[in-house]
Symmetry: D2
Subunit: 343 residues, 4 copies
């Protein structure tokens, strides 16, 4: 049994990690910490876990993690970078679901997150945890940077095209729609029910923090820089990301269905749908699946890729467990094979 | 391994039974039938099961069930009663999720369902599958009548009070609210998104088909007839039933928390919440749990019980599997211990 | 033209009052105040009013109201009671949409609102603004206490039965369901989209602040005290209240359709539906209408009344304008005759 | 008073036209027809209009329209083209909310709608009713083709850029999201609540019937052909269209805010928002407004325009009344000045 710790489990990614850990046969949740909720039962914060989990939040003291093999951070940014170094030094693996170790360039990180990175020397060691792009390095990772929700959907959609040199890397557009849980669990006006239900809007069109992470991943796939226009939107639903991706093809005589099918044929969590499909977000609700389809409207130069994930699962906590499975030599699908909950 | 057949899996209870069977370690789904969809892959109807289930619908021929130990009916009413006798004769157990065998009185059945019952002789043998009331008889049942969604929530809420003679049996009111999936998967105007979203209404206030089933169960608990006013409502959500139950107490010096806690202390799927709680339907989304709380407004004579279930799980398919576990001597929670999916 | 002032228009009832005032041909909005938002354009807070209203919030100084004929308070409780006396002394009429003047008993007010009332001497002068019960007194009111949303629906549903002595006044139950906007416009966890969407729950079952207000009104109709069990619920929709009311009939040989039809035949904003109807909340979305239907399940002793209002219109701001029309001698429907917005 | 007839008012655009006509001071609704519902009261189909409209559906006989000055068609496609010629001959103006007269090329129409156009000779006379592009011709139109919902949002967003030659006309992308009412009022599985709530998907990515209409309008603005990739999506909300538009700028030294502000400064129903804004669909719910904002992510070559309309108002019935006002010489905003209903 892997002994796991969890820091900051009072948000939705933390709650989802708990739900998934309950279904994982090889992990024992040893400690869960929260500065604000220390002493309270987890089920007071997340009543839906009542009866399934008899565990109280502890203070985030280093000694509380001594028995752990791995510690997950489901914290806001700029928390994990303060605590990860000590854990690594103690021989504990770290899986960070926040943004602290996703960018390899400390200056870029500082620019987007508004403060200095406190352990830039770890950025080059940190492994970006998109298994479909990076599986070999993940196997030996000590410090894993779990991808963001938008970046997972956008990268999985574009990777086959960029790796194959099939599209103009300067022409990329990602029009992405997220459920409200992507904004996290906090008291905010914009995500009040009456402010977001039965309505639709774009946000952060001028620049969203997930942009540099996506560009970094796409540049790696491309073997050179890319230009991406990324416009996120808020949809009136709880979970789910739908990325609609646009690129100009370099040549149109390509069997795109074969390209996608071959790229992902061995991937347990990427589902290339039959030609002409339109995946819906409910189809991956609660599942660690990314579902993909492509279209060439009017047979033209522009390829459209439709990619859906559950932002809390393949876009966060499910992917974190998938990475843990890889890091600890378990079968990659352990604890993650459940289908979606629909309707 | 138990070999199971499923008749009529093109509705939501059928789809949910498939989802739960995928997580059940002791059942093999051997055959699935649908007259209308014969030959099609299940995942064409329920895309969210794609990749999890490689099975095509067959015609509902008797011979297709020969290898089955148990056959589930997830059909509209008046289907199972035509096919169950032959299956029983072949030594196959039947679990009927429809209404065909829930009422013991064939005349009452005919009155509410508008046609004659074709095998009234089986009604007395059929066991009503509410394990919390009927577990011993379920163990040896050949023909199991799985309760309706409203009846499950309403009975579990009232049982401790009626069994203890604590309330006036002529004063019962059940104000029940259901998510739209309770109406089934069909093309109907009233359940179109634009007709039901962002709105709330009662329906069938003059009489709903679940009424006689509830009264039958409550009368058994009471040891005599009861009077129930039952008003169902349609809430703009996908899953979930919230029953708000009212009754006049015979004496008010009763420790209701103890009454409920003791009645259900050995029940794995009934969660009596701490005093003063208000369960929400999302807290049981996807889980086979009924969550209960009680209140005595202004310390008066009226007790209010709040009961929630997921209509597709504890209110249908999860309960069917719970019954199957009991009928086949498996631990009752096998395959059913997953927590809710929330948010 | 009536010159109106508005205090505290940063909530949903304030916004809705602005929307309705824009359609009212006889009112000029002269001043709008908010301590917190002083200096900002109204359309910064409520973007949907952009282009319709060129007005900035002012500080709530008494002198700002000098030119007003009437001042509306759309404030949290315990604000209007501090400012109303000075306005009344200056000859300005006051319409309070908050709870400050709804209860005639200052001790009861203090018990439910947790502080002393600062002008109890005004409580007897204040007129409770339910026009269907109180029209004559409203005509000459200086200080009008506008009813709460739940109380409007519950009183309009029970009034004909209590006035006629048709039901046991000790047997009343109001199972009420509200859209989330009833909780007001504030940053709260329980009303975050992800905490309230696609779910249903009761709240404040042990006692809600609208209870004494409802009991006061029902007692007046009954000519003696009543016992009411009132359980409010939160439904996943933006607007709307659906009250399902239960009472035991004293005698069952009554033509209830005639009772309701006659009681409300002259009322422009109460719509008694045809027998057997089930009103839905969307049918009154944005309209100043209360829609009513009644049922007698199984022809029994219990009568069930279904009452719907838009909590922000007939349950708040529309009713406030209706009262203003009466107080200023305008036709009662002025500016309020628009149909609902549906779907 | 203008006497108006309405054909086929059993869908959402018909219902919305009725709602708006009720608020229009210069129109009298003289006749409303529906083959299927002949004889029934309008309020039986649309209960929310109950009490506001005392009118029964008549059979769609030509003689029923004799007294009309104008007849609106709110029918599925291929209905108006059969009836319009006779009405025009009788001197009655026709405003068609369906697609029958939107395309000027009869062959293109036949290709997308799957049947021959029966009066192609009228296509050149028909005036496309986008007032912001076509006001002069609308003034004298006998036969008006009211634009579709997507085309309204997409054209209003692109027009200033194409008319000014500011973007590459071969680089246009419209990623459009619609509320479910855009699919019309019919019993269909895909728009059942449980199939579309809490989920998001693209549809018709390979080609949607609104594409040729949009391209026709954009080509006119451009003075030459354009290439448009148009991907529509279904969002879990009732009303609203959000179009996110992408184009490559020909030169980046342009004051886009000024371009949009000047283009629409005299337009009563187009609201160019302050720089950096993100319009939401609820902000135009029920209003005849198109709200626009633009962004240049990372200051790059791609301009992003955000455009929202209510698909039933500015995208259908509100625009039809706006066109009627123009055709009959009334002030253009008559009956259309109400603000949105929000929250």
């Amino acid at each position: 049994m892997i002994k796991a710790g969890l820091v900051g489990a009072t948000g939705y990614t933390g709650a989802e990690l708990l739900r998934l850990l309950l279904a994982h046969p090889q992990v024992q949740l040893a400690v869960i910490t929260s500065r604000a909720e220390s002493g309270r039962q987890v089920s007071e914060i997340f009543p839906w876990l009542g009866g399934h989990l008899d565990l109280a939040f502890q203070a985030p003291e280093p000694k509380n993690f001594q028995a752990c093999d791995v510690v997950f951070f489901a914290t806001p940014h700029a928390t994990a970078m303060h605590q990860a170094p000590a854990l690594l030094q103690a021989g504990i693996k770290v899986i960070d679901l926040s943004a602290d170790f996703r960018l390899q360039d400390a200056a870029l990180w500082a620019e987007w997150y508004g403060e200095r990175h406190v352990c830039p020397e770890l950025l080059s060691e940190a492994v970006y945890g998109l298994p479909e792009a990076n599986r070999e390095r993940i196997k030996t990772a000590r410090l894993l940077a779990n991808p963001g929700c938008y970046p997972t959907a956008v990268q999985l959609g574009f990777l086959p095209l960029l790796e194959g040199g099939l599209v103009e890397p300067r022409s990329l557009i990602a029009d992405a729609k997220s459920g409200v849980s992507g904004a996290g669990r906090k008291e905010a006006m914009a995500t009040q029910f009456c402010e977001s239900a039965d309505s639709f809007k774009a946000y952060s069109a001028a620049g969203h923090r997930h942009l540099p992470e996506i560009e970094q991943g796409l540049a790696a796939a491309n073997g050179g820089p890319v230009d991406l226009v990324f416009v996120p939107h808020l949809a009136p639903m709880i979970r789910g990301i739908h990325a609609t991706l646009y690129a100009r093809m370099r040549e149109v005589e390509v069997d795109l269905q074969a390209v996608f099918a071959q790229r992902y044929q061995a991937e347990p969590f990427v589902d290339v749908m039959p030609m002409g499909s339109h995946p819906d977000t409910r189809g991956v609700r609660g599942a660690n699946t990314c579902r993909l389809a492509w279209h060439r409207p009017q047979g033209g130069e522009t390829v459209v890729i439709l990619a859906v994930v559950d932002n809390l699962v393949k876009g966060a906590s499910g992917q974190a467990l998938q990475n843990m499975n890889i890091m600890f030599g378990l079968p990659e699908t352990t604890g993650l094979s459940l289908p979606a909950l629909a309707p």
